[in-house]
Symmetry: C2
Subunit: 209 residues, 2 copies
């Protein structure tokens, strides 16, 4: 299958398809259609068909898509057909919330390592995981062969931690610090900054008197 030549914007939609399919499956449905999926997601049916067609022919004319087999295909395509261990750096309020969050496991990710630089936090246990010193990031992550990390440190430490993660072999960073991380080309970063989203929305609102 082509790992390259697929637009990134298409890759970004696949997880949404997957999420909706699982929703449908939980509702007991066996088949769905590009039209139904599109309705759920606010996306045109043609777009969904075209996206999927980049990877193969998964549907049947007149019938639509078998939900469980399309789910399996998408998982295979996205590499979420097995569980990825994830390192979480920074166990402040946000880091703790992420550590407690139950939504990772059944969606192919599991936080397996916690790190912080605060001596008061190091050695604590959160949901059975010990908080380790950031000094151990490189060695630990290399040994465990971890490729995915979530970065939830204060902004001023984010770049230094990212550099360490990269040295340790991490190739995907989910960045909660409100700053741009500089990383090598082969490392992927996705940013989550709630304020960016809020600012983007209030553009469309009437400013209150």
């Amino acid at each position: 299958m082509a790992r390259t030549g697929i637009p990134d914007i298409v890759i970004g939609r696949l997880p949404l398809y997957l999420r909706s399919l699982i929703r449908l499956q939980q509702g007991g449905a066996i088949f769905t259609s590009s039209y139904e999926l599109g309705q759920m997601l606010g996306i045109s049916s043609a777009q969904i068909r075209k996206d999927l067609s980049l990877f193969g022919e998964f549907g049947k004319q007149g019938t639509g898509y078998n939900i469980s087999s399309l789910t399996a295909e998408l998982r295979r395509i996205l590499h979420t057909d097995h569980e990825w261990p994830v390192a979480l750096i920074g166990v402040g309020d946000l880091g703790r919330a992420l550590a407690h969050y139950g939504g990772f496991v059944n969606r192919s990710f599991r936080i397996t390592h916690l790190f912080d630089n605060d001596p008061a936090k190091i050695g604590q246990h959160i949901d059975g995981l010990e908080v380790l010193s950031v000094d151990l990031i490189e060695k630990t992550i290399k040994t465990a062969n971890i490729k995915v990390a979530m970065l939830a440190t204060p902004i001023d430490e984010a770049q230094a931690v990212a550099d360490t993660l990269v040295r340790a072999g991490v190739e995907a960073i989910l960045n909660y610090a409100p700053t741009v991380l500089l990383v090598p080309e082969n490392v992927h970063v996705q940013d989550i900054d709630p304020v960016i989203h809020l600012q983007r929305m209030v553009y469309y609102l009437e400013p209150p008197a």
Copy 2:
């Protein structure tokens, strides 16, 4: 100024420009250029100039942009030149983390109301704010004229809460529940689902043995 006819994708970049400008300003810089901003953000200078040109002429040839005046312009454009009160629904781990987060206030948002449906949480105080019953959402938000909300409830309650928020007059919802919210056309939603981001990134990674 045209509130319409500006591509949404451009609006999405403006908060990034703003964030970088503030960063530069904190570093003591007075002027910057589209090239420098582009370097910080991984965006071409032409793109930045073109985006800004949709709203006016803010730069000076040969000199670039005065950071503080461009910052002010962007704030005005984005309607973040004043503080928006925000309601937060759901004070589980994530909701608490958001309530504690110090990054909203100096970026034009302030959480002013907390809601939950758990009797054990209602009445508690978090950073001086009392947790109110979700039954009070409609009345309270209407009275306070709140237009922006963050939704951090479990997935199964998200749509019902969103409906309530819409009835209360909310027009911008930052949705942390991993589901698509159905809302009227005039209501804006932005989704934050960390798993979506993770799944999107691991597509590009070698699946571990």
